[in-house]
């Protein structure tokens, strides 16, 4: 009973730690864009003024705060003389806009790095992996034969063979093999047998 209890406790602890780590990661991701200081470059007041009499339409941008976002502060130089300013400003529409360049930069760089990593991993799986697996050439035919029937019988054999695979590398290998088989199953279901997602 006691080894069971200690294993249960270890599992419980592991799950709590992983959940806390996940929450910490989420908070980091979310707080970094939120706390990014609003540099003066990231705010602007955009005033669009349509054509008026013989003056052509114009767009005016200025980095001012929201309280100063109106026609009088932003439209400079004022194209109409003093008594016409009010009529002109009634036509203009001023909008306050904010953005966060840090967020955009971080997100695009994260996205590109994930795509790059996936491409590299795909290249590795397609090109390098078969070369590494060559030393196991004598097991290859056996694998292929079982693959034709189905990979599950292979999976059934694995727990007996790899029962003591405790080193990190072997566990990673095992996980990778399992994942590859899963993807192959999925590929067969979707692309070959057209059982799903047609």
């Amino acid at each position: 009973v006691f080894p069971q209890a200690s294993m249960m406790f270890a599992q419980c602890f592991q799950r709590r730690v992983s959940s806390m780590l996940l929450m910490a990661l989420l908070c980091c991701i979310l707080s970094s864009p939120a706390e990014a200081s609003k540099s003066s470059e990231d705010i602007r007041c955009k005033c669009i003024c349509p054509p008026y009499r013989n003056i052509s339409g114009n767009i005016y941008n200025k980095n001012v705060l929201q309280k100063d976002c109106n026609c009088l502060h932003v439209v400079e130089p004022m194209p109409v003389p003093g008594n016409d300013v009010e009529a002109y400003c009634l036509l203009c529409e001023c909008k306050y806009e904010e953005r966060s360049t840090t967020t955009i930069k971080v997100i695009i760089i994260i996205y590109l790095s994930v795509v790059g990593a996936l491409l590299l991993y795909m290249a590795f799986l397609v090109l390098v992996d078969p070369l590494i697996r060559k030393p196991d050439a004598y097991t290859q035919p056996l694998h292929n034969e079982e693959e034709n029937e189905d990979a599950r019988s292979l999976a059934a054999a694995l727990p007996t063979a790899g029962a003591r695979a405790n080193t990190v590398l072997e566990r990673v290998e095992g996980a990778q093999q399992r994942w590859k088989r899963q993807v192959q199953e999925q590929r067969k279901t979707v692309f070959d047998r057209h059982k799903m997602l047609s």
């Binding site: 009973v1 069971q4 294993m7 249960m8 599992q11 799950r15 992983s18 959940s19 929450m23 989420l26 991701i29 979310l30 864009p33 939120a34 470059e41 669009i48 339409g57 114009n58 767009i59 005016y60 941008n61 009634l90 529409e93 806009e97 904010e98 953005r99 966060s100 360049t101 967020t103 955009i104 760089i109 994260i110 996205y111 994930v114 795509v115 996936l118 491409l119 795909m122 397609v126 029937e149 189905d150 599950r152 019988s153 999976a155 059934a156 694995l158 727990p159 095992g174 088989r181 899963q182 993807v183 999925q186 590929r187 979707v190 692309f191 057209h194 059982k195 799903m196 997602l197 047609s198």
Partner: protein
């Protein structure tokens, strides 16, 4: 090793069609499945689902009574047993509540258990909102990458690149920092050669993005293609698809969705966003025991996650909850309503704080005008509804025909080539027309826009008479040449989108349907709106216009017609009702347009229903043969339970297990010879009185475990399901008690029960199988697959198209 042998055999014989219950084969390798814990990690945990009262007294003494890991879990491509899952959850809750009175730690545990649902919703909202923000910003950037690049900081898209510099009123898009490809390569942007170079670069980028998307999908997560909503509907009704909501599917779907949208294909991202949000929900469920172990509770969480997904797609939290209720979920308890709303709100709030579009808007095509409309305009709105219904029915028929072709002929063997050809075709046809060159969301945004004095796009090039302008309230004006050009370009764009979407939806990249349908409707609506506007301007003295639309008044808003058209087309395709109207009015922010939207949505649904019964998602469910029992249709035939049950008159009798007279060898041979996923247990073969029902998977696990761990269990050991062991001579081998895996309360109906009631029972309770008795004795069994086949037969459809269990 004969154990390995029987396992392999039982797998291979699972493909025959005549079996009652088909499964994908027994497998004890738990490490294969994403969701199930491997055998060596977990020991015990929850009390058995129905033996709580019986086993409670002996729980401390007899640790063999503790359920084995793996008992109570499900095979891939199988249906869950809702009743069992719900009763398990109630047992767990009862145990926690009773233990909470013992110590403070247990009390804290019970409080945290109650609170865990809300914490999970919060996490789902945060994760879904963040991923949606990532998708929006990346898609925005990559779409503009086809046209040019920002020299100063490459991570800015066109709009952000030109943010700081002043642009002219007429040419709002040009600024020195943004260079189109021809400008970058050639040095100038004008001329025929520059146009050809731009064209070429556009097509090359589009092909590159879509090829990358399909290769990633094929290489890493084949489940990430398509929309996802039909499969999620099936999962939420109780089906298990392992890996469909896993972490690799999530990563690949997010990445390839951005690529697919940016490649200019005629697809949207709303449906895939629902899949992404459900993946988030499923992954986060693993942090909480309450949801990890119970499939029914997990589906409640997935319903809420689907609501969060639609909420971030449209910036419509209420619409998202209603969409989840109406379209996606199967059982939607009231508790889920409040939690879904919470998740949707958190997701919308997270997205807003990431601020992907600037101005704190959540959707690109948020509409801000509030112009009034007149009752007579209901006539064109209803016309738009009819158009939406007709287009919806046409689209569903042709798309299903094309997908069926893809499924059955050689076309399906070349998915990468298919994506290549469709993208090339789309890009080549899209570039010349400026309305198809821009991304579909931008097109919808421009069509929804009401032309004011500040707009200088081609669509707003009306003949202006400055003497009568009063601020932004422009009257109806005559169309200038720009408007006429825009009209025929839009008509061409409409034709192109109508036809190319048929071939795009269902390809092996993530593809959604909402945006293309809304685009078709918006174009049609805007065309009709401008036509009515010009009619009212040139013939303001006609009887129908003179009452309310005098000269110089602003009566017709073409932007509103575009919105109504978009709602009509979306309703015609998906057959959404309430959720559609709520999403549309949350997009516009005003209640004044509810009546036109409802009129168009209802008309389009009626017209589309008159032509074809199913929406696009139900049609895809039927095409793929998923075991989805439609909850909305009535079963109106007069058949009885004995017409549907198995075994039929010509079949061998029902395979049963007796409660205390079969050996381990007998049971193993029954498991070997048949592929049924469960067996009734009777008192004896002569009496056929029902004791309970036992599942195949549980039997296999228990017998295997007993052979390995319990001493004295051999092939001639008797298996008994009763409480006390049967009397036997002392020289016989020790007996195996399997009462803990027996379901003592299986559902039964008599053979004279009308099928209407049986179908209703299956729907309402979420049963997987139902036993049929006659005069108290067990006669046969009806499974969900039998019910589905029967319904298909009654509707004159092909009953063999029901593939899964």
């Amino acid at each position: 090793m004969d154990q390995k042998g029987y396992r392999r055999e039982s797998f291979q014989s699972s493909t025959s069609d005549e079996d009652i219950l088909e499964i994908g084969g027994a497998s004890l390798d738990f490490s294969m499945a994403d969701d199930d814990p491997p055998l060596d990690r977990e020991m015990g945990g929850f009390s058995s689902y129905n033996g709580g009262g019986m086993n409670g007294t002996s729980s401390m003494m007899d640790f063999l009574e503790e359920p084995l890991p793996g008992v109570g879990t499900y095979e891939d491509f199988n249906t869950i047993d809702w009743v069992r899952e719900k009763s398990r959850d109630r047992d767990r809750h009862r145990e926690i509540t009773s233990r909470s009175k013992e110590s403070t730690w247990a009390l804290i545990h019970s409080v945290s258990d109650a609170f865990s649902g809300w914490l999970l919703m919060l996490l789902i909202g945060l994760l879904a909102g963040s991923l949606a923000g990532l998708i929006d910003i990346s898609a925005h950037w990559m779409t503009d990458l086809k046209e040019g690049v920002c020299l100063a900081d490459f991570w800015f898209n066109h709009e952000h690149c030109c943010w700081k510099s002043t642009t002219t009123f007429t040419d709002r898009d040009k600024c020195p920092e943004w260079m189109s490809w021809s400008q970058l390569i050639l040095g100038h942007g004008e001329g025929a050669f520059a146009y050809i170079l731009n064209y070429f670069m556009y097509v090359v980028w589009a092909l590159l993005f879509s090829l990358l998307a399909v290769l990633l999908v094929k290489g890493f997560a084949p489940y990430a293609c398509g929309s996802g909503i039909p499969e999620i509907k099936t999962i939420l009704s109780g089906f298990i698809i392992r890996g469909y909501l896993g972490k690799w599917t999530l990563i690949i779907k997010t990445i390839t969705l951005v690529l697919a949208v940016s490649s200019g294909l005629s697809l949207g991202k709303e449906g895939p966003l629902v899949h992404v949000a459900c993946c988030c929900g499923n992954i986060l469920c693993h942090l909480f025991t309450k949801y990890r172990k119970n499939e029914a509770k997990r589906r409640e969480v997935l319903s809420a996650a689907a609501a969060a997904g639609v909420s971030v797609a449209f910036g419509a939290p209420i619409g998202g909850v209603l969409f989840s209720l109406e379209e996606v979920s199967y059982y939607f308890p009231l508790k889920t309503l409040w939690r879904s709303f919470f998740a949707a709100l958190v997701a919308a709030f997270t997205l807003r704080s990431i601020n992907p579009f600037g101005n704190s808007r959540l959707v690109l095509f948020y509409v801000e005008f509030h112009m009034p409309w007149h009752l007579l305009e209901l006539v064109p709105f209803i016309l738009l509804g009819i158009f939406g219904g007709l287009w919806g029915a046409f689209f569903i028929r042709s798309n299903i025909a094309w997908c069926r072709r893809r499924k059955t002929t050689k076309l399906g063997k070349y998915p990468v080539l298919e994506v290549f050809v469709v993208t090339a075709l789309t890009a080549l046809l899209a570039f010349p027309n400026e309305y198809t060159r821009m991304s579909t969301s931008e097109l919808i945004s421009e069509l929804f826009n009401d032309c004011g004095i500040l707009d200088s796009s081609k669509l707003c090039e009306y003949v202006n008479d400055f003497n009568s302008t009063k601020g932004d309230d422009l009257p109806d004006r005559a169309a200038g040449p720009g408007v006429y050009t825009a009209m025929w370009q839009l008509a061409l764009a409409l034709l192109m989108k109508v036809f190319i979407t048929i071939f795009t939806f269902g390809m092996k990249v993530p593809s959604g349907l909402f945006i293309p349908s809304m685009a078709v409707g918006a174009i049609a609506g805007r065309l009709l709106g401008v036509a009515v506007e010009q009619l009212a301007y040139y013939h303001h003295d006609w009887a129908i216009f003179s009452g309310w639309c005098s000269q110089g008044a602003d009566c017709i808003t073409p932007g509103l017609y575009a919105m109504v058209g978009a709602a009509a087309c979306l309703g015609g395709v998906t057959r959404m009702t309430v959720s559609l109207v709520v999403i549309m009015f949350e997009l516009t922010g005003g209640l004044e347009y509810i009546v036109p939207l409802m009129a168009a949505a209802m008309t389009s649904k009626w017209v589309a229903d008159a032509i074809g019964r199913e929406g696009i998602y139900d049609a895809h469910i039927r095409l793929n043969g998923y075991p989805f029992l439609e909850a909305k249709e009535e079963f109106s035939h007069k058949t009885l339970a004995m017409d549907v049950m198995r075994p039929r008159r010509s079949d061998p009798p029902l395979t049963v297990i007796t409660q205390d007279s079969m050996t381990v060898e007998d049971v193993e041979s029954i498991i070997n010879d048949t592929t049924y996923s469960g067996y009734p247990v009777v008192v004896s073969r002569e009496s056929q009185r029902l004791v309970g029902f036992v599942l195949r998977r549980d039997l296999i696990i228990s017998i295997d475990n007993a052979r390995k761990k319990q001493d004295g269990i051999v092939s001639t050991s008797i298996i008994y399901f009763t409480d006390h062991s049967p009397p036997l001579p002392p020289s016989s081998p020790s007996m195996l008690k399997l009462r803990s895996i027996l379901d003592l309360s299986p559902f039964t109906v008599t053979d004279q029960t009308p099928m209407e009631i049986v179908v209703d029972i299956f729907r309402k309770l979420g049963l997987r199988q139902c036993l049929v008795t006659h005069n108290g004795k067990l006669l046969g069994i009806i499974t969900k697959k039998d019910v589905l086949k029967h319904i298909a037969q009654m509707a004159n459809q092909d009953p063999d198209s029901i593939l899964f269990n």
